[in-house]
């Protein structure tokens, strides 16, 4: 059982305080919904967990052990994978190439190590199969639907068998039918034993897949509740400030 813990995380950019001491705890098998209005500090928190920049104060602990991230690679090494909002895909390459981008599979060819396309296509087909996605490994990302793109981005995170998967607004820019597809993807990631943080401002999605919801407002965590102990109305109130905290 892996755990990710944030203790008193603060971040300021010059005079602007983006985060003012946030505590958060996440364990495998959980899907935590992280909600908040624009500017509440969601993206800053994600970027700190992803290793894009360090916090001004506070500590990140993995399984109780303090860790420090200087670049995204450090976070990945600790078992944290991010699905970025813009998905970080290369339109001009195939699904499989995108899954293995930066960690291409290789095979020996004489004394040279060359890219092993067959292995990448086969492994990507397996990953898409596990995610029950219809994405085809040899299709160019340019030709894919929003849901298929999500599957590529999620399949990528599964290569390293991460303990924690952060998903930044995965349902923000896709059609209703594809939303259901992506929510299924999230459930499969959870069932595989990974802990998921779902950053979203779509209330129905959060209540459909999350087991817990945390609300940020102006850089502070104002609520952290089990999903069955709250309601969309209460969470909306917490986000807007109509309810101070819960």
């Amino acid at each position: 059982m892996a755990s990710l813990e944030l203790v008193g995380i603060a971040k300021h950019f010059g005079a602007i305080e983006a985060l003012r001491g946030v505590d958060l705890r996440l364990e495998s098998g959980e899907v935590l919904g992280l909600m908040g209005d624009n500017g509440a500090g969601k993206s800053t928190l994600v970027k700190i967990i992803a290793g894009n920049f360090p916090p001004s104060a506070g500590e990140i602990r993995i399984d109780g052990r303090p860790v420090q991230f200087h670049k995204p690679v450090d976070a990945r090494r600790e078992g944290i994978e991010i699905v970025y909002q813009d998905l970080a895909l290369c339109d001009n390459m195939t699904a499989a190439e995108n899954v293995f981008l930066g960690r291409e599979l290789k095979r020996n060819w004489g004394f040279l190590k060359i890219v092993d396309y067959r292995a990448m296509y086969d492994r990507a087909a397996e990953l898409f199969g596990e995610l029950k996605s219809e994405t085809r490994p040899r299709d160019l990302v340019r030709q894919m639907s929003g849901g298929q793109r999500q599957a590529v981005a999620i399949a990528r995170t599964r290569l390293s068998e991460p303990d924690f998967v952060l998903m930044d607004e995965p349902t923000a820019a896709i059609s209703v039918r594809q939303v259901a597809e992506v929510l299924d993807l999230i459930r499969r990631v959870r069932d595989a034993g990974h802990a998921v943080i779902l950053i979203s401002h779509r209330m129905p999605d959060v209540f459909a897949v999350c087991s817990r919801v945390a609300v940020l407002r102006r850089g502070t965590k104002v609520a952290d509740k089990r999903i069955e102990d709250t309601s969309p109305e209460e969470v909306t109130g917490l986000i807007t400030g109509a309810i101070a905290s819960a």
Partner: protein, 348 residues
């Protein structure tokens, strides 16, 4: 779960192979290098009919292939740079700097090995400066290489003191043979096909480059950087280092082309390669590369270079005034970009 899995995979693979067979023909018909190849063949046929005694000859083949080789060699480095979404305007001037530097060395009595090492070293330094300023200082490639275009050309004039250097010292023969020599192949019918060293070098480098683009991580990373630089960075690709290396490769191919041309011409001059950046970029773009990055290949630059020199060759044979040549090169550049826009609209 375990029993259903193999079935799942085999279905997926069939689906995938079915898809692949469809796209091979599709890919050919939507591929710009394919249509440029068709254009090259058509021009050859038409010119052969018009000039049966001078065009379809082994001598003309030898000359034409040699003439486009230096552009083709530089198109390799330029393709790497353009794949990342960059541009290198300095290649022609790097040629001049390399040419004058090696000519002065040879003139001073140094051997051909020293001249070659120095020539490649000069290319390496120009590439490192371009690449460092673009990849690490994040200056726009257009501005950096425009600056290098001016600087390298000027240094070439300073080094040669404005002279054309003909005196190549004790190793003159060897140096000239490397750039100007050729290989004779006896064909089954007894006639002799000559292939210039420049053309042979172009073929070898193009094959290596095609291999690198397709089968190495570095090659794939060039496409990734051009496709989505931010994504490449987030997935851990050393974007800055790869970009620097692309500019180094580009300057090195310019140095190579210059060493070969200087040997072939038997003289070093700061006028070498003036305006060649136009031809090199034209060759790469006509060959299907996208100036926004992420699209292009080794064969594209090769066939693009062949096309623009074939146009020149054919225009001369058709008796068109040579002054019209650059008009047609410009026309083909615009036409190539237009074609790509139309194809892009279809794909998107």
């Amino acid at each position: 779960m375990q029993s259903s899995k193999p079935l799942q995979t085999s279905v997926a693979i069939e689906e995938v192979t079915g898809l692949r067979e469809r796209t091979v023909l599709e890919r050919l018909l939507t591929s710009q290098p394919f249509w440029v190849t068709v254009a090259v063949i058509l021009i050859c046929i038409v010119t052969s009919i018009k000039e049966p005694n001078s065009f379809p000859t082994l001598a003309n083949f030898f000359n034409t292939t040699r003439n486009f080789s230096s552009i083709g060699i530089m198109a390799i480095g330029m393709t790497a740079v353009i794949l990342t979404g960059g541009i290198d305007l300095s290649v022609g001037s790097v040629m001049a700097l390399v040419s004058t530097t090696v000519a002065r060395l040879l003139e001073a009595g140094y051997g051909w090995e020293s001249a070659w090492a120095m020539g490649l070293g000069v290319g390496l330094i120009c590439g490192l400066i371009n690449g460092y300023l673009i990849a690490y200082v994040k200056l726009p490639p257009f501005v950096v290489t425009l600056g290098m275009l001016s600087i390298a050309r000027s240094l070439g004039v300073v080094i040669s003191q404005g002279r054309v250097i003909y005196e190549f010292g004790p190793d003159a023969e060897t140096f000239k043979w490397i750039g100007g020599g050729w290989l004779d192949l006896t064909l089954p019918n007894g006639s002799v096909l000559s292939l210039s060293h420049q053309f042979l070098l172009l073929i070898v480098l193009s094959i290596i480059f095609a291999f690198v683009l397709k089968w190495t991580s570095w090659g794939r990373w060039l496409y990734a950087i051009g496709g989505n630089e931010n994504a490449a960075r987030l997935t851990g690709i050393p974007v800055d280092r790869v970009k620097l290396q692309a500019y180094v490769l580009c300057s090195l191919t310019a140095a190579l082309a210059s060493l070969m041309l200087t040997g072939y011409a038997g003289s070093g001059t700061s006028g070498l390669g003036r305006g060649y950046e136009l031809y090199v970029i034209a060759a790469v773009v006509i060959g299907g590369a996208n100036l926004m990055g992420g699209a292009g290949g080794a064969y594209g630059g090769f066939i693009g270079a062949a096309l623009i020199f074939l146009i020149r060759n054919s225009l001369i044979m058709f008796g068109v005034e040579a002054n019209w040549y650059e008009f047609f090169v410009g026309l083909f550049i615009i036409f190539a970009v237009l074609l790509e826009r139309i194809r892009g609209r279809k794909a998107g």
